[in-house]
């Protein structure tokens, strides 16, 4: 399995960041960065990372079942995460979530038919003072309203 030269350089740096013989420390960052490039964690990717870090497949399955950002399924071109935890809820996060589901015609952890946007209801994303907040891929969108969310969805569809 091959990755972009930038990612290969990052992997080489990452592995060097942990003590000798402890390169497994790079496992979770490697999986996340690889997933960013390939879109999802495939069997092939698991085998590749297992080989590079000298870990077993089951050690990788263990962390895949634990960390919410790592996923085996394919997601939309853009992944929209809406926070409904307390600070966001107090400022309309739940209504925003319902609105997004209606607007996109999908539910939690589903993807639009055209594959452009997937949706997830998430726990606190650390944007509490700028609530309600939405995270699209790694971009934060603060102080959201239903109108602003409509515009955001349109711009994401346009970006394809």
């Amino acid at each position: 399995m091959t990755f972009s030269p930038e990612l290969e350089a990052r992997f080489a740096r990452m592995i060097g960041n942990y003590p000798p013989g402890r390169q497994k420390g790079a496992l979770i960052p490697m999986l996340l960065y690889a997933q960013d490039e390939t879109g999802q964690i495939t069997d092939e990717l698991i085998d590749e990372v297992a080989k590079r870090l000298s870990v077993t497949r089951v050690e990788i399955e263990e962390v895949l079942g634990y960390y919410t950002m790592l996923h085996r399924e394919k997601r939309g071109k853009h992944h929209m995460q809406i926070c409904t935890n307390v600070s966001c809820m107090l400022r309309g996060g739940e209504e925003l979530w319902e609105h997004a589901c209606g607007k996109l015609g999908i539910g939690n952890k589903q993807t639009t038919a055209d594959g452009s946007i997937s949706l997830e209801e998430v726990e606190c994303i650390g944007a509490c003072s700028w609530a309600p907040a939405v995270l699209v891929d790694y971009d934060f969108h603060f102080n959201q309203t239903q109108e602003k969310l409509d515009e955001l969805i349109e711009s994401l569809r346009g970006k394809q």
Binding site: P19, K24, M89, L90, E123, C124, G126
Partner: protein
């Protein structure tokens, strides 16, 4: 851009380099021009014990939530060990309501690097990692760039500033887990494993990252250190109260006119914080409740907040200062719904390692959901209290306590709201359009 307009009642130490609106991070040249790395230069001329003594004098306490004295924590690190010692920064920032570390990471990343260097000098570490939650990729990249700059200027690497000291620092991304904010779970995660907490003792000071002596501190804690060394522990201590030195960031959120992250002296009055700095409750409404230290801290009612916001005063009031996340609830807030939402979070984030937490949070979430939806029974109210009370103090790590504390306090202080949502008899009352629920 996360900065809010500075408020005259703020005391700016951590945020003193910020110039509103501070569109760009403070990169190395600007940092050095504004006294950057001067605290570290001074520390290079001090013995490790002198550094620790200065931090002890400052009465700096951990800003992640537990409030443990930082100098004491550093003094526990086993420096005589034949193994290397490590510095680990906790930037997991998962406690609901907390959004302060990101402000420091985004605007003044070199401050954190300088804090790590001083700690490394004190505990004899040559390696450190900054563990940051995965959602904060933008800030991981900013810190990554600052680390590169620091290597380029000789502040990181080998023979730092000709002193003979070696220190390497790198970022490490998380991948979505609240539990990884618990320091031993964070260390497991750093080693490439599931974020399950470790049995303590041994504490990380003797057996930490990769089985070596380690200190783990919050981002904000490390960021406070450069000014402590530069101006002295006593100077920092005097900014706060006798047992609570310095300043800290507070995150105002919820039903408030000016939500934002502000820096105040320890012991600043909580009522004034909400009314004067935060501009009071929004929409001209009255205050109902305040969650003073993240969603795991016990709730305070409107008439309980005229107190100094420091670790000891909050503890005396039956709550905790926690991570400084102050969530404001106006008079229209449905406290049953709020607690049900809080519990949904803890049930989702429980790592499942120990049974009281895994089962306790799951059942509390189920019971609270049915009470919130009008399908609960009168006896559910006491059941929530009893379940939370029996979970408290009996779980492997603090996540169980974090779930139990809001449950016990909200049920006790707002019992009438729960009673209004449940029938007076212990009968199963299905909510309109739902199936009857199974009783415990």
């Amino acid at each position: 851009m996360l900065l809010n307009q500075p408020h005259p009642l703020e005391t700016r130490v951590l945020t003193r380099r910020f110039e509103y609106p501070q569109a760009e991070p403070i990169w190395v040249d600007e940092f050095i021009a504004k006294q950057g790395y001067e605290g570290f230069r001074k520390a290079l001329g001090m013995a490790p014990d002198e550094i620790i003594e200065e931090v002890k004098k400052s009465a700096l306490r951990g800003r992640g939530g537990a409030g443990f004295p930082t100098g004491l924590k550093w003094s526990f690190v086993d420096r005589k060990s034949a193994k290397p010692t490590y510095v680990v920064v906790n930037g997991d920032e998962g406690e609901p309501g907390t959004c302060k570390d990101r402000v420091l990471l985004e605007h003044d990343p070199h401050r954190l690097i300088e804090g790590c260097l001083i700690c490394a000098r004190a505990i004899g570490a040559a390696r450190g990692w900054v563990y940051i939650r995965g959602e904060y990729r933008k800030y991981i990249d900013i810190l990554g760039k600052a680390i590169e700059e620091a290597y380029g200027r000789g502040y990181l690497g080998e023979n730092i500033l000709g002193s003979g000291m070696t220190f390497h620092l790198s970022t490490h991304t998380g991948a979505g887990s609240y539990e990884c904010g618990e320091e031993s779970a964070l260390l497991e995660s750093l080693e490439g494993k599931r974020g399950n907490p470790r049995l303590k003792p041994p504490f990380p000071a003797s057996v930490g990252a990769f089985q070596c002596p380690t200190t783990v501190n919050n981002v904000e804690t490390f960021c406070a250190v450069p000014d402590i060394i530069l101006n002295g522990g006593e100077w920092y201590h005097a900014l706060g109260t006798p047992k609570n030195g310095g300043t800290r960031l507070v995150c105002l959120s919820g039903h408030i006119n000016r939500p934002g992250v502000y820096e105040v002296a320890l012991g600043f009055n909580m009522k004034r914080l909400i009314e004067e700095i935060g501009g009071g409750v929004w929409k001209g409404r009255k205050l109902k409740a305040v969650i003073p230290g993240g969603s795991s801290s016990p709730v305070l009612t409107a008439d309980e907040i005229d107190i100094p916001a420091d670790y000891d005063s909050l503890a005396k009031a039956g709550s905790m200062l926690g991570s400084g996340a102050t969530m404001v609830c106006d008079e229209t807030t449905d406290m049953v719904k709020l607690l049900a939402r809080v519990m949904k979070f803890y049930a989702h984030e429980s790592c499942g390692w120990c049974i009281p937490c895994r089962e306790g949070t799951t059942w509390l979430a189920k019971i609270l959901k049915r009470v919130d939806e009008g399908a609960g029974m009168a006896r559910d109210i006491d059941m929530v209290d009893q379940l939370a009370s029996s979970m408290f103090g009996r779980t492997f790590c603090a996540l169980g306590d974090a779930a139990a504390m809001p449950a016990m306090s909200i049920v006790r202080k707002f019992r009438h709201e729960f009673e209004a949502k449940t029938g007076s008899v212990n009968a199963i009352v299905p909510a309109p359009g739902t199936q009857p629920l199974v009783v415990l």
